[in-house]
Structures are given as structure tokens and as C-alpha cells.
């Protein structure tokens, strides 16, 4: 009995490790390829930073543009998304659900279709079409649901209506309650949403490929470009830079969700202890 359990444990562990290898090995491979003198020959050819230098030389503007769009996208989703999420949570009921359902549509509908729709409707405005703002619109549509959902999730996990009633009973008006009670308490949700928005915006390709112009190339567009036309080492070095940008965001996201989890369990423990 004991033995068979052990065996099944190791079989499952092995399986999980294989899955993990499937996900991680290519990333490591790509990172290595980016700093290897000649990937075809292998590591024996020596390590070099010249590919990275070449990428920075060729593609720096794509990196800047991606950061600019991600930042602008974050600002907009914060300004329009957080109040909307609160309003939805506060309204509740059927109409709020329908609105939420609609807002999530850009995630369900393939980016290609949205991009096509945007081009058909607004492609005629030359100035707009050829500026980075055109890409920004797509990114806002695509990332907004994540911000709203993230804030909504926190709002539904704290009893914000009662907290607000508490504040109101002490004399606080609507906007003051928002500032002093609601906003500080949904901060984890806003933070998680923000990380998600920035990460997704930096990596967005489906929409961006259709919306970009030769002078508005983002990082993923540049990546696709390099995959098609550059040697493997350059493409790898470029991918490596992308990883370097995005990995801290992913780690921050994981840490945030871990700390939120720890907080909620700690909270419930103290609740159960009583006096």
C-alpha cells in the first residue's frame, strides 16, 4: 500500500517535471541562443553580447514604443476602468452583468477581428491611423477587461458596501468614502490589474500586427520581423530582451497573488481565534 502510493507519487512528479521542462527548456534555449556566438555550432563557439548589441542597435525604438504604449494603456485603463469597476460592483444585478459581459467581449473576440473593425472604421483618418495612438486604442480595448475584473474580484471579496455604510454612518459623503475607504482597500486589485495590463500590452501581437505601420512598430512586431528576416541568434537575443522586460512583471504578479493569499488566510485565522 505504502509502496504503491510512493510509486504513484514519483510517477506524477516525473510527469509534472516533464511538463515543466516542456515549458522552460525552450526559454532557456532561446536565452542561450541569444548570447551564443554561433548557435549552429553550439556553446563551444563561445558566448557573446554582440547579438544583443545588434538588437539594441536595430530595434531600440520598438522597445521604447512598447513601453510608451504600455504606460499610456495603463493610465487610460486606470482612469476609465477603476471607476467603472466600482460602479458595476455597486450597481449589481442584471444590468451590471450585461455590461460586464459586453466589456469582456474584446477578449473573447479574436484580436484580428477587432483590428479589422478598427481599420475599417478609423483607417480613413490618416493622422490617427499612422500614429501610435491607433495601436493604443486596440491595447486599451484588449486590456481593459483585465483591469476591471481584477478590481471587481477584490471588491467582491471585501464587503465594501458595509464598509461604505460604516463610513457614511460616521458622516462621510460619497466621494470622501471613495477616497478614504474604497480606493485604499481595492489597492491590491488595482495593482494586480496594472501588472496584468502592462504585461499584456507589452506582449500584444494579434491586434498590433494589423494596426501597426512601418513607423509604429512595437516590440512583438519587431520580434515577428526578426523571426522572419534575421539570423536565429539575433532573433534569440531580441527574445531575450523581451524576457528581461516581462519576467520581472510576471514575478511581481506571482508575488502579489501569493501575498494576497497569505493575507486572506491570516485574516480568517485571527477571525477564528476570537478574543
Amino acid at each position: 500500500m505504502m509502496l504503491s502510493r510512493k510509486l504513484s507519487f514519483y510517477l506524477q512528479l516525473l510527469f509534472t517535471l516533464l511538463v515543466c521542462a516542456f515549458l522552460i527548456v525552450p526559454v532557456v534555449l532561446s536565452a542561450l541562443a541569444g548570447v551564443t556566438a554561433n548557435f549552429f555550432v553550439g556553446l563551444e563557439s563561445g558566448l557573446t553580447l554582440s547579438w544583443l548589441a545588434q538588437v539594441i542597435d536595430l530595434y531600440t525604438d520598438t522597445i521604447y514604443l512598447s513601453l510608451l504604449i504600455a504606460f499610456a494603456c495603463l493610465v487610460i485603463t486606470l482612469i476609465i476602468g477603476v471607476p467603472a469597476a466600482y460602479a458595476l460592483a455597486r450597481m449589481g444585478g442584471r444590468s451590471a452583468r450585461i455590461i460586464e459581459e459586453t466589456i469582456v467581449l474584446p477578449v473573447a473576440v479574436p484580436g484580428l477581428a477587432i483590428a479589422l473593425a478598427l481599420i475599417l472604421s478609423y483607417g480613413g483618418f490618416r493622422e490617427f491611423r499612422s500614429s501610435w495612438l491607433f495601436i493604443l486604442v486596440g491595447h486599451v480595448l484588449y486590456t481593459l477587461p483585465f483591469m476591471i475584473r481584477s478590481v471587481l474580484a477584490v471588491l467582491s471579496s471585501i464587503d465594501f458596501k458595509t464598509l461604505e455604510e460604516g463610513a457614511a454612518s460616521l458622516g462621510a459623503g460619497f466621494w470622501y468614502r471613495l477616497k478614504t475607504v474604497v480606493l485604499p482597500n481595492v489597492r491590491p486589485g488595482i495593482l494586480a490589474g496594472s501588472l496584468m495590463v502592462v504585461t499584456l500590452s507589452i506582449g500584444e501581437f494579434n491586434l498590433t500586427w494589423m494596426l501597426h505601420t512601418p513607423i509604429t512598430k512595437t516590440l512583438p512586431v519587431g520580434l515577428a520581423d526578426s523571426y522572419a528576416s534575421m539570423r536565429l541568434e539575433v532573433a534569440s537575443a531580441y527574445t531575450l530582451i523581451f524576457f528581461i522586460m516581462i519576467v520581472p512583471l510576471l514575478i511581481a504578479m506571482q508575488m502579489l497573488s501569493a501575498s494576497n493569499k497569505a493575507k486572506t488566510t491570516k485574516h480568517s485565522v485571527t477571525k477564528n481565534i476570537g478574543s
Binding site: F9, Q12, F15, T16, V19, F22, L23, I24, V25, P26, V27, S30, F40, I80, P83, A84, A87, L88, M91, I99, I103, V104, L105, P106, A108, V109, P110, L112, A113, I114, L116, L118, L120, S121, Y122, V137, V140, L141, Y142, P145, R149, A168, F174, T199, L200, F205, W209, M210, P220, L223, A224, Y227, A228, A235, T239, I246, V247, L249, I251, Q254
Partner: protein, 273 residues
Amino acid sequence: MQQAVIPKLILMMLPMAIIFLAFFLVPMAQLAVVGASGEQGLAAYASIINTPRHLQSMIATVMLSAVVTLAALVVATIAGLFLVRNEFPGRQTLIALLTFPLAFPGVVIGFLVILIGGRQGLVGDISKALTGDKLVFAYSMVGLFVGYLYFSIPRVILTIMAAAEKLDPALEEAARSLGAPTWRVVYDIILPALKPGLIASGAICFATSMGAFGTAFTLATKIDVLPMTIYTEFTLNANIAGAATLSIVLGVVTWLALFIARSLSGSTVAASG
């Protein structure tokens, strides 16, 4: 108090509503109209069935997405349950690594597939060393399958783990106290409890696979999945109406998958890209 608040709530929702209306609802409606504005009119929407090339690409996309979904669910359930139900050193790291590629874009995943299964890929090198034949699969449906599996696994694992953690341990203890062996516990208690999560994450997996464009774009323009067909129609053939109809059909199919999953699982399916 309620009544006085409603105008403020509407005010707070207004900016989002305006942007959403102007840049999503109106353009999508326009897209649907353009789709029907070709010579065929509304019948253009039937072209997906009438045009063999479109129908083929539709069927291929659906099949691929379904197979990917199934595979991802099986793999992620085994790994996810294992990680939740066992305590061992390195577990946290393993979880972190498994959920890490969550936000990798499709293009990058396509490139990673090339690194594994491409002409200079790892699998090719290994197979050449072993059998003398170079195994290259990246530039075909198999490559696409591998790529979609790659980006599906982290998502599904996360959902499964979240659902499994919520499982009341007392249920399993009760089943065991009644004499149920492990496989019965899994079959009778754990899988039913995971069902909503499985349906939800399966639907997301299916929907993303249907609409994914970046991976196919990186691997090869020859792979005939619907997003690639749309892209080709739009850019190479300048068939705007055709691209529009296909986009609308694709959008409806993916949305439908999510919608059905939601009504089946009874909870809100967190759609994610």
C-alpha cells in the same frame, strides 16, 4: 441613499462607455455590415460553408483547438492536482515555473516552437543523433499544436489548482472514512468538484486557440487556420468583405464557446488572452 448615488455611478461609468462604444461596438457593427456588403450580401456569411477553402480552414481550426483543449486539460489536471495534493521541497518553485509562461505572446511561443522542432531545433538534433533522421515538425499543424499546448497549460493549471485548493478536505476524508480507495475519491469527489473549473478553463483554451494568430504567423503562412486565412484574405487578396465575414464568424464561434461554458459551469468564466 441608493437613488442619490445612481447618477454618480453612471458618471463613473461614462468614460469607459464612450470609449467602448466608439472603438469597439460601432466598429464591430460596421465590420458585420461590411461583411454583408459584398456582391453576395448577407449570403456572404454562408460562404464559410460554400467556399471549400474557408470551410476546410474552419474545420481544421476547430479540430486543432478541440484537440489542444483536450490535451491541455489532461496534462494540467494531472500536474495541477499533484501540486495541490502533495507537499514536497521545491513545490513552490515548480508552481512558479509552470505558471510563468502565462503572458508570453503568440509570436514568441512560435519562435520557441521553432527552437524545439524547427530546422535547427533541439528535437531535430536529438533525433538526428539517435536515428540519423532529423525530425522537423515546427512548420506544420503539429508545430501549431505544440505551440497552443504551450500557452494553454499555464492557464489551465492555474484554474485547476485554484479549484482544487477550494475543495473541502472533509469531503475526501468522508469518502475515505466510508472506505473509498484513491481512484474512487478522485473519480467521485475531486473530478466532479473540478468540473466547473475544467469547463471554464477548457472554454478559454478553446477560444484562444481559435483566435490565436501570432504563433501561426511565426511558424508559417502556409498553415491553414482561420486567423491566417483572414489575414491572407485581407492583406494579399484585398478581399475586405471576405475577411470581415470570416472575422465575424470566428468571433461568434469563440464567443459562443465561452458563453456555453459559462452556462454549463454556472459561474463566470474569466476570459483571458
